[in-house]
């Protein structure tokens, strides 16, 4: 009893009007999606863009205010709560529409609304030719709403609302230019693949809920879960620990949302959407939801070492394979997409080895530099009238200096060049991976090297060398407008400087970031720090040097191939008879395999069942009807010749009589009356006498 009382006290939190953070983007979305078309027709696209951006910025301001409030609280009590209303209360299930704001959500919300606002501003410039700005900004606002709900949700079901809601927005924005079936197909693919993950997520949630209900602690509220999950210890289902099963199912959900093997296939296709969407949803925010969810439930995942190993392995494998695919792509957005998949792999690797804070840290830095890269790419694409093939770019440095500068900074950051944001976060992950398993570290290192290579391949192909732009696009080459470059500059600043939030102790930093997150992930963090056996700083330095060297190697290689041309890309492509190159270029044929195996399988099954339904199930019904009809025909024959024969015979007799009697029918009324009266007389006489 005492323990539960204490639990409740700890979970009390400070009441704070968090609802405005989500309500403002929702209002923007509602206005723009319902009345936006008229607004745009009446007041021009600026109106809808300003409305959308204003809501986003206002939300950001609210987040900052909440963040400041949170910081003012003592470390142990850093929790803001806002219960909007009750939602579902049936039996053991008691779920409220409630929002919670703790250090982890604070980081996420700042990223989402901050970068989100920048991207809103950027979009104003990027979407200048599109007639449906209202829909675009409405969907972006709706996305912010859903994403913030996902992050702020106080329980798993509210989180799930956001979880699927971002899927909806992603669907709507990937297929934004819906008159082209390539885009809508990509949108559907994204939604469906996500749904597979959601299906597992739901099952995981059910299992978790009922397992806890068995121990009398049924809840889906994160704060309470932290105290309830130890009850799962020792429970098994289908020969597996319940904790393991739950976390595995949730992780499948995460692979769907965060594009990990095996459900990563939708993300590269999702590049069909407008570039700001790719930057916001498919790089900086939505795809990191899986990482966030695992960190949010870190106490649960820490109970399942097997799951953690699976996560680490999947993360590392994804990081590596996606990087190999990125090496050979020509489409600049595809390169960035695989890079995103790869970087997400890093994050999973981190959380898999229990380095939750490092995972979130990388999430943060990645949000900056990847958003910047995407927006930079978008700036280029916009300038080139929607040309995305790097083979038809080149030499843009002189035309678009700001874009080039910011792109370069971000590329340096993602490559892990010391001093830039990516260096700190990536190094932290590799260090923790090494502590857990050197093989994982080696894979991560290789991926880091490849990342450096393909990012600089992209930089060199796009901005350096001679200009290969053709047609009249070349004549109009120019730097983008300030609404587009301003976000680039801000993000590049982040890409350069965000790393200093979490400088590791080995480099003399205090790692503010990790400390900030400590209340959320403290248990595991403390445990692992001790497992590391104090601070083997020498080893850390060695590893750091190695990773920097690898990155340098990657950059050097790219330089040699694409600037100096002293090495030929063809040489590398020909290695092993060209098989590795073709595998990489064709993305290991995974799409084709999925398409042929799963999609066709389901479609064939559905056609077969529909055929069975029409011909067998309904056939039986119609057959039964036919049997009845035939037997009724048979009965009809009997009826006709035997039964009806009798009837007809009778009828004939009646007919003859009728013919005779017909003569009585004169049609004269008086005659009838006579008959009537005489009959009455007859009757009465017979009675009277």
């Amino acid at each position: 009893m005492l323990e539960t009382a204490a639990t409740h006290e700890a979970a009390a939190g400070v009441s704070y009007a968090l609802r405005w953070i989500v309500a403002l983007p929702l209002a923007g979305a509602a206005i723009n999606l319902i009345a936006g078309k008229r607004l745009q027709d009446a007041a021009g696209r600026t109106a809808v863009a300003v409305l959308g951006s204003a809501m986003s910025i206002a939300s950001f301001v609210c987040v900052v205010a909440a963040f400041l409030r949170l910081r003012s609280l003592p470390v142990d009590e850093r929790l803001l709560l806002d219960t909007v209303s009750s939602w579902i209360h049936i039996g053991d299930l008691d779920v409220s529409i409630a929002l919670a704001f703790d250090p982890l959500s604070a980081v996420m919300c700042l990223i989402i609304t901050g970068i989100g606002s920048l991207i809103h501003i950027y979009s104003y410039g990027y979407m200048d030719e599109d007639p449906a700005n209202w829909r675009f900004f409405g969907m972006l606002n709706l996305f912010l709403f859903c994403m913030l709900t996902l992050i702020l949700g106080d329980n798993m079901l509210v989180m799930f609302v956001g979880w699927e809601g971002v899927g909806l927005c992603s669907w709507g924005l990937i297929g934004f230019w819906h008159s082209d079936h390539t885009n809508t197909a990509a949108a559907n693919k994204a939604f469906l693949v996500n749904r597979i993950g959601d299906f597992a997520f739901l099952c995981g949630m059910f299992l978790l809920f009922w397992s806890l209900a068995d121990s009398g602690k049924a809840t889906l509220v994160f704060r309470e879960l932290a105290h309830a999950v130890p009850a799962l210890e020792g429970m098994t289902l289908w020969g597996m620990g319940v904790a393991t099963l739950v976390t595995l199912l949730l992780f499948v959900g995460a692979t769907g949302k965060s594009a990990q093997i095996p459900l990563y296939v939708w993300l590269p296709d999702a590049m069909a959407g407008p570039t700001p969407v790719s930057a916001l949803i498919h790089a900086a925010t939505m795809v990191t939801a899986g990482v966030y969810m695992i960190v949010r439930l870190n106490f649960l995942f820490s109970m399942a070492p097997f799951t953690m190993q699976v996560i680490t392995a999947v993360g590392a494998a994804t990081a590596f394979f996606a990087a190999t695919i990125g090496l050979s792509q020509h489409d600049i957005k595809k390169v960035l997409a695989y890079s995103t998949v790869s970087q997400l792999g890093y994050m999973f690797m981190a959380v898999g080895v229990g380095a939750y804070a490092a995972g979130i840290f990388h999430l943060l830095t990645h949000a900056f530099f990847k958003a910047c890269l995407f927006l930079g790419a978008g700036s280029v694409i916009h300038a080139l009238h929607h040309e995305q093939d790097m083979r038809r770019m080149g030499g843009l440095r002189s035309y678009m200096p700001v874009t080039f500068g910011t792109f370069l900074i971000s590329a340096l950051a993602i490559a892990g060049v010391p001093g830039f944001a990516g260096f700190f976060s990536k190094d932290e992950i590799l260090w923790r991976a090494f502590l857990a398993n050197p093989v994982i570290w080696a894979v991560g290192l290789a991926a880091a090297g490849m990342t450096a290579f393909y990012m600089f391949r992209a930089v060199f192909l796009t901005f350096a060398g001679e200009c290969r732009v053709e047609g009249h696009a070349r004549e109009h080459l120019h730097e983008s407008s300030w609404t587009m470059t301003l976000p680039l500059v801000v993000l590049a600043a982040g890409a350069a400087g965000a790393g200093y939030l979490g400088v590791p102790a080995a480099l003399g930093g205090a790692n503010h970031f990790e400390q900030w997150l400590a209340p959320v992930v403290e248990l595991e963090h403390a445990a692992l720090s001790h497992a590391a056996g104090g601070h083997d700083t020498t080893l850390e330095y060695v590893l750091m040097a190695l990773s920097v060297a690898t990155a340098g190697l990657g950059i050097l290689l790219a330089y040699l191939i694409y600037i100096r041309k002293s090495l030929s890309a063809a040489t590398f492509a020909a290695i092993g008879g060209g098989v590795p190159y073709r595998l990489s270029f064709n993305k290991y044929f995974v799409d084709e395999f999925y398409y042929g195996f799963f999609l066709n399988g389901v479609l064939s099954l559905s056609r077969a069942l529909a055929w069975i339904d029409l011909h067998v199930v309904d056939g039986i019904v119609n057959g039964a009807a036919r049997v009845v009809r035939i037997s009724s025909d048979f009965g009809g024959a009997i009826d006709h010749y035997v039964v009806d024969g009798l009837v007809n015979g009778t009828a004939t007799v009646v007919d003859r009589c009728g013919a005779a009697a017909r003569k009585l029918q004169t049609g004269g009324i008086n005659a009838y009356l006579y008959v009537l009266v005489l009959a009455v007389i007859l009757v009465l006489f017979s009675r009277a006498w």
Partner: protein
């Protein structure tokens, strides 16, 4: 307002009489009259919604009159948490359907007369508490439906109507047998369901089993559960839009309603005995089978019809679980499916009115042509595929949550339908609304005000119930909990009686 249920039931009948005496060529007058007479039950329904006490488990607004004394047949009307949702759904959908029937030009008078009679039948089924009365209303509703499909339907309307009629008639016959068996089984003879429920513990196991199965088949045809479902696609394809809406929105619910109203409390032991195979397994199969069949359809209405089969599977699965989440989810799903599918059929009806065909591959790019329509369509489609925040999600999640406790394997199979449902819904959406604009339909007008009025209230309900499901759950929860308990306790009670 003690007789509110009778008013709700018989006002449409009065409307039918009113339409009957009108000249047949005064179409506008007939339409407005029909609308007025369906609005009355709606207004009463709104009042009822406010007045109904959800915390009471028993019957409310009970009216009890002797009807045919010789056979102890009574006129008993009353609603509890289970039926109130259905009554409200019926009251809501009927005016919408009248509006959706506005452009019927053939035999206007007959159409609206039959429609009003249909509403009386439906209301009666949900309100009647005397089994005989229930049966009468059940049949009353059948007849207009037959004519509405058979006269105002599509090219194969006669086949569809006869199929519907015969199928339902088979169900009715089985129900009649079970009803008479119940009647003759106790002293004093009665059709009073409340009395029959009290007698439940006295029924022998084998009697319960046979009667339960007879009733189940009768109701399963209506749900429709595999393998009795093949009348549904045909009926839907041929029926006019409004009739499809009623068919999917209200009539299908009568099957599951009947099981919950009659099979559960009167035959609790048999319910427990058969719940797994007949409800849970069959329901799960319905979910997956319906979804897969839907995916292969080329006709928009057929697709929606199969999706109905799939969604009704959730209801069966939910009520089989006998958990509070499952059964609440099931009844909520009945309501939500009523609104969502109504929207889907109305949406299909809109394009059908304009293009006169429903071939999924024959359209394309409607989103660019009809933005308002597309917005509402998106709400309906995403509600149908269970997007959180919209109504159907709550009910599906409750059903699946309840089912998980009941049987994990079935739940996993059933839950896999979330992927399939998303698949066929989005695929249809993509083929019809997205993509390059089909030149043939480039000038299709957007929704008219009348069509907007039919769709908008439903969309609002779908949104509101997604955020505030207790608007319905508060009405049904206590009743269903009591029902759950009845069934759960029955085995114990009957065991005690045997000793």
């Amino acid at each position: 307002m003690e007789n509110v249920l009778s008013y709700m039931t018989f006002v449409p009948l009065a409307g039918m009489l009113a339409v009957m005496v009108m000249p047949r060529d005064k179409h506008e007058v007939i339409r407005w009259t029909a609308l007025a007479f369906t609005l009355v039950p709606l207004l009463l329904g709104i009042w009822l919604y406010g007045d109904f006490d959800g915390s009471i488990t028993g019957m409310q607004y009970v009216e009890r009159h002797t009807w045919i004394e010789t056979y102890n047949i009574q006129y008993i009307m009353g609603i509890d948490g289970l039926s109130v949702t259905m009554v409200l759904l019926t009251a809501l959908l009927c005016p919408i359907c009248i509006l959706a029937s506005w452009n019927i030009e053939k035999g206007v008078k007959g159409y609206f007369m039959l429609f009003l009679l249909l509403e009386t039948g439906m209301m009666g089924v949900f309100c009647a508490l005397d089994f005989f009365l229930f049966y009468i209303f059940w049949e009353v509703m059948l007849l207009p439906m037959y004519f509405l499909i058979g006269i105002w339907g599509g090219p194969r309307r006669e086949y569809a109507a006869i199929k519907f009629f015969l199928y339902t008639l088979v169900g009715s016959v089985l129900m009649l047998i079970a009803m008479l068996a119940l009647y003759f089984h106790g002293e004093p003879r009665t059709f009073d369901m409340l009395v029959l429920m009290e007698r439940a513990p006295t029924y022998a196991r084998s009697f319960q089993a046979w009667a339960w199965l007879a009733l189940f088949v009768g109701f399963a045809i209506k749900i429709p559960a595999f393998p009795f479902h093949t009348w549904l696609p045909d009926a839907h394809v041929e029926a006019p839009t409004a009739i499809s809406v009623i068919l999917a929105g209200v009539l299908l619910k009568m099957g599951t309603y009947g099981i919950l109203r009659i099979c559960y409390p009167i035959f609790p032991v048999a319910t427990q005995q058969f719940a797994f195979w007949c409800l849970a397994v069959l329901g799960t199969w319905n979910i997956v089978y319906g979804a897969l069949c839907a995916m292969a359809q080329q006709d928009m209405k057929k697709l929606v019809a199969y999706s109905s089969i799939s969604h009704m599977g959730y209801v069966m699965l939910g009520m089989a679980t006998l958990t509070s989440q499952g059964i609440n989810g099931a009844v909520l799903q009945m309501f939500n499916h009523g609104t969502v599918t109504a929207m889907l059929f109305l949406i299909v009806g809109v394009v059908y009115d304009r293009a006169h065909h429903r071939d999924i591959n024959g359209f394309g790019g409607l989103a660019s042509v009809m933005p308002v329509y597309t917005g509402l369509m998106t709400v309906a489609f995403f509600a149908a595929l269970g997007l959180p925040g919209l109504s159907a999600f709550i009910s599906e999640v409750l059903v699946l949550l309840g089912a998980w406790q009941y049987n994990q394997a079935l739940t996993i199979v059933a839950a896999s339908a979330v992927v399939l449902t998303a698949g066929y819904m989005l695929w249809m959406l993509q083929r019809v609304w997205l993509g390059p604009v089909n030149e043939k339909y480039a000038n299709m007008p957007d929704l008219s005000a009348r069509e907007l009025v039919t769709l908008l209230p439903l969309a609002v309900i779908v949104l509101v119930l997604g955020i505030h499901p207790h608007a319905v759950l508060d009405l049904i929860d206590p009743t269903l909990l009591a029902l759950n308990r009845t069934v759960a306790d029955a085995v114990v009670v009957s065991a005690q009686l045997l000793h």
